[in-house]
Amino acid sequence: MELPLLERARLGDPIARYTDPDFTPPELTSLVPCTVPGAGEQYRFHFDMTKCIGCRCCEVACNEQNGNPADLRWRRVGEIEGGTYPFTQRHYLSMGCNHCVDAACLKGCPVEAYTKDALTGLVLHSADACIGCQYCTWNCPYGVPQYNPERGVVGKCDMCHNRLADGDEPACVNACPEEAIQIEIVNIADWVLNHSAANAPGLPPAHETISTTRITLPGKLGPELEKADHTRVRPEHPHWPLVVMLTLTQLSVGAFFGLAAFGTNGPIAAIAALLVAGLALGASTLHLGRPIYAYRAIKMWRRSWLSREVLLFTLFAGSASAFAAATLFNLPRFAAVPTVLLGLAGVTASAFIYLVPARPAWNNWYTLADFHLTGLVLGPAFLRALGVNLPVWIIAAFATLQLLNQLLKLLHLVRSEEFELKASARLLSQDLKTVLMARLALLVVGGIVLPLAGYAIPALLLALAGELTGRYLFFVSVVPRNMALPWLTQGGTAGKAAA
């Protein structure tokens, strides 16, 4: 299919005509294709690092094009640097969305806000479908989707596909004084087989999502080039509603586990555990940019762990309500088993949300163990505080396992060679050291010492504080994968969120 560009080139560019009636038609620009992709093809960016001078025109032009706030940028320019003076190397990476073949943002989205456009292959995002859960911002290894707090939804580069359809250059392509950004058409099958040209220093490996952006690298690139911002590691957003939601759903599931395992002394404990679950699920909607559309989150349960989590916890809450009602009729304790199974599945789904390659400190079995052990410590402690007669060694044992889990995770971070994991370890041992110490102390005192000493209510309060702190640390200490960013600022909302 021909695009209007061909015709425009023949007739003369209307912008040029506007400014000068005698303007002669320019030569056909080669920065955008003149046709739409054919079968098995898609659009992609080509970025020529040898041409980029780091002037950041593309960033400003992108924001003007899309009317975005100043601190939120769909195209970002990063710096990479290496060598020794005077043989210093400094280069720039300009990146919008890579419109990946295997887009991680799309796979995780619970509401199908993302689609891979059938005609152009572009990964498009619908601000109307989006509920602002921000799961895509954790999934993308390049930090491309950006949450806009003003709107309550995420947004990202769509390659100005509406401009492309009119034969106009995307804003970044149009603005670049060096012609370092181009739009090309790529054969998807060929690219899946060999996409090494999508790799560059300062970028996560392309194979994970099969980024389609082709990058032309300078000929003599030193092996020691690093992200200019690699020493600037700042705590991430704490996501308080999620801290509350995760800790309390886990507590509730743990409580039903306790009820199923050790029985109850009447309906109070079950009803209390149900209320906690309700509180947790209510809190979770506060995380959303658009809480009123929380129900949409179930939509993509076949694909998204977030949808599965919402679905399983909804079923858990239903089952728990039924069980709580049934406790009035003195049912046997194993009637709680379906509730427990749904709850454990829900906690597992919760954990799997965080097992994403783009956030390496989360992407391990410690996360799964962490989430379950929180429930297994707090649930029984909760029941014990309500006077349910269950052996305290259960609490102490799970707390010991949680302690072990936390220490092993720290060891894993410290010993890793991976930048993001090392950086997480650095955060925990420097900026967040006091919080980490408090978290471990609360676990030991609230989870082991006080239960064994028979102080059930103080034990619950301290243990709960410990697990909430732990979940806070979980969010703030993760160092996401990202493209290289400028030394001075983090660019986009990343810096803002941490501020």
């Binding site: 912008i15 002037c55 400003v60 009317g67 100043a70 005077p86 001075l488």
Partner: protein, 719 residues
């Protein structure tokens, strides 16, 4: 925030909607204009053509002008967001008079009467020269021409200079010395046709990014960049010359030495068009490659290779900016650059020129018409003939025209410190941030009886110290012309009305002239900048900078017109009395404040692409401020190790003058061991507290580029 937004029913889809701009296509609906006004960018002297989009009289967008020959539709990040400067929160809106330490709004009439009373009072008491005026490179040429007449003929003081002396005075002086007149001989097109391009102390990638496209398109050329710092521009180079600070003169002399030694000079050109070759030749004998290697820290082979490339080039261009100009030997360095061009005849041909890339949007306009360091039209104060000529055009007694230049900018400040200048009028510049050795400037201000600051923005660090603030219109709000580095006169148009009571500088000048009672004499019948332009055409007629054949309409239609044509001196005839260019013997002296003892490091200052000068404009543009919100200090990791400093440490720059605190430390191999670099844009961390009062004796330009400092942790020092 409304409840619908909190609940999530509303996601601001209307605010974030897109639409079809009839000219520029699919775009955020908020950026769709109902009118596009073509104009020229108001930041640097590249002089990009652009369009300001307005809707309901408010600027909503800017676009590069695709038909403009300078930029062909491209703009730098500052240009791309320039419309925001018009609506900055810090725009000056009302005349303000400081009474009992507080600004009170007053009427224009009262403001100008007060100003004139105070100025006249000071002049009556201490002499006409007790009034100093410091102007800018930001006005339109028509305003510069008007202001020059107002100051010199109306107020009768010659102590009048522009902030251009902080910027390109050395280039002006260097051109005058070598060629007999100011005026960059080349064109941007030379960057596309030269086969060797040597950039000295010019970080165009950060400072003139739109010129980089020309370097990029010229695949044939060998690009050589000499800079002590591995700038973004150095990364574009085929050959990077990491010279020691202020060793550029040795490099230039060394190249000249090799050219003469190996017969790579154009003897015919030298004999026909220059004077001083024999003396220069003898003088250069000592600049052997070995000696130059020692001074510059470059290898002998590199120096030989660069000289060969330059000497054998079919067309070679040398471009420079502040690395050369910001020096006590700035004018002389320019002479040494001109020497190379003259020795090889690399001037006056396509691709061949010694080319000063200027700073401000209309620094050239004030150089030509401004009446500061010379009489309008590149005329000389000292020339009786020039004075007669002007007196005739102006219909004035020739005795009214000064016979020598008044004080230059730094000398006005020194005179204020010495209480010889007692009142100052500052127009569109912010010396509190831009002037070297802050403490001296503050002392000068404190000694004044009256300070008037006329600016588009308030508060700025300078307006805050004023007795009277006059709110002025800025770029986008007035009409006239700018002249860019390649002598291209481009049209500047009004897209929006000035905010509040702000008035164009031209209107302010005319109103002052009327109160002075000199309107009929010096601005007879003038009502608009067009009247000034018409007179300027007559004044410039027959001069090197000849505007007489230009009309505003033609300038507009052609996307600007270059005075003097595409290049100057094509016939080898120069503006000197004998028509010959002069070759100069330039010693390579050490810069004035050498590092050592308590101040072991060399401080270098410069710019970053996101900002313009002292940020009164770009600091108000949210995206630019967000991209570069604060200053930083670059230091080599090897120095940091010795000092026990770490990346991101909070450090202070301490010099013999003063200190700058709370700067984030960047450890990087961009700077050489022994040197540190800091951007000068930021009032909050003003590097000019540390820089020194050392000025080029010829051009009076400050030596911003090198001074001795030490770096220490701020927390330690400040407890």
């Amino acid at each position: 925030m409304n409840w619908k937004r909190i609940a999530g029913l509303d996601n601001l889809s209307e605010e974030y909607a897109y639409g079809q701009d009839p000219v520029h296509g699919y775009v955020s609906a908020r950026k769709i204009a109902d009118k596009w006004t073509s104009t020229t960018c108001g930041y640097c002297s590249v002089g990009c053509g652009m369009l300001i989009g307005t809707r309901d009289g408010k600027a909503v967008a800017v676009r590069g002008d695709q038909a403009h020959p300078v930029n062909k539709g491209k703009l730098c990040p500052k240009g791309l967001s320039e419309h925001y400067t018009l609506q900055a929160k810090s725009r000056a809106l009302k005349p303000l008079l400081k009474t009992n330490g507080k600004f009170e709004p007053i009427s224009w009439d009262c403001a100008l009467s007060t100003m004139i009373d105070k100025f006249r009072g000071v002049q009556a008491k201490y002499g006409a020269g007790a009034l100093g005026v410091i102007s800018t490179g930001q006005l339109v040429t028509e305003e510069f021409y008007t202001l020059g007449k107002l100051v010199q003929l109306g107020f009768g003081t010659s102590n009048f200079d522009g902030n251009t002396t902080l910027c390109m005075a050395s280039a002006v002086a260097g051109y005058k010395r070598s060629f007999g007149s100011d005026g960059p001989p080349g064109s941007y097109a030379d960057l596309e046709t030269a086969d060797v391009i040597l950039l000295i102390g010019a970080n165009v990638a950060d400072n003139h990014p739109i010129l980089c496209g020309r370097l990029e398109r010229n695949n044939e050329a060998i690009l050589i960049v000499a800079d002590p710092r591995v700038t973004k521009t150095a990364m574009l180079a085929d050959i990077f010359l990491p010279v020691k600070p202020r060793s550029d003169i040795a490099l230039l002399n060394g190249i000249a030495h090799i050219l003469i030694r190996d017969g790579l000079i154009n003897r015919e050109y030298i004999d026909a068009h220059t004077t001083g070759f024999a003396e220069l030749s003898t003088f250069l004998e000592k600049f052997t490659p070995e000696h130059v290697a020692q001074v510059t820290s470059l290898g002998v082979e590199t120096i030989e290779r660069v000289a060969m490339l330059y000497g054998r080039a079919k067309a070679a261009t040398i471009g420079w900016t502040m690395g050369v100009n910001h020096s006590t030997q700035g004018a002389e360095t320019v002479s040494a650059i001109n020497n190379l061009a003259l020795l090889t005849g690399q001037i006056g041909r396509a691709g061949a020129s010694p080319f000063s890339i200027t700073g401000q949007c209309n620094a050239m306009g004030t150089r030509e018409s401004g009446f500061t360091s010379g009489l309008p039209g590149y005329r000389k104060f000292e020339s009786a003939e020039d004075r007669e000529e002007l007196a005739t055009i102006w219909n004035l007694d020739v005795a009214r025209i000064p016979t020598k230049r008044g004080l230059a900018y730094p000398d006005i400040i020194e005179a204020a410190v010495a209480k010889k200048v007692r009142a100052l009028w500052i127009i569109a510049t912010n010396p509190v941030v831009s002037y070297p050795n802050y403490d001296v400037l503050i002392q000068a201000f404190e000694n004044l009886e009256f300070l008037v600051v006329q600016d588009g923005f308030h508060p700025t660090p300078t307006t805050e110290l004023a007795n009277l603030v006059l709110p002025a219109a800025v770029w986008g709000e007035k009409e006239g012309t700018y002249t860019n580095s390649e002598r291209r006169v481009s049209k500047v148009n009004k897209a929006v009305e000035p905010p509040g009571e702000a008035r164009s500088d031209f209107d302010i000048f005319l109103a002052i002239a009327e109160k002075l009672g000199v309107n009929d004499e010096i601005f007879p019948g003038w009502t608009s900048t067009h009247d000034a332009f018409e007179e300027w055409r007559k004044v410039s007629a027959g001069r090197l900078c000849d505007y007489s054949a230009m009309t505003w309409e033609q300038i507009e239609r052609e996307g600007g017109m270059q005075w003097g044509g595409e290049r100057l001196y094509t016939d080898g005839q120069f503006e000197t009395p004998d028509g010959r260019a002069k070759l100069f013997r330039v010693e390579c002296d050490p810069f004035p404040e050498q590092p050592g003892g308590a101040f072991p490091l060399i401080l270098n200052t410069g710019r970053t692409v996101e900002h313009w000068h002292t940020r009164t404009k770009t600091g108000e543009v949210a995206i630019l401020d967000s991209m570069a919100p604060k200053a930083w200090l670059e230091m080599n990791p090897r120095d940091a190790k010795k000092l026990g400093l770490k990346m991101h440490d909070n450090v202070s720059v301490v010099s013999r003058r003063s200190r700058v605190d709370a700067i984030e430390l960047r450890l990087t191999e961009i700077v050489a061991p022994g040197q540190v670099f800091m951007p000068f844009h930021f009032a909050e961390t003003n590097v000019n507290r540390a820089t020194q009062s050392a000025f080029d004796p010829i051009s009076r330009e400050p030596n911003y580029k090198q001074c001795a400092v030490r770096i220490e942790r701020t927390a330690e020092a400040r407890g």
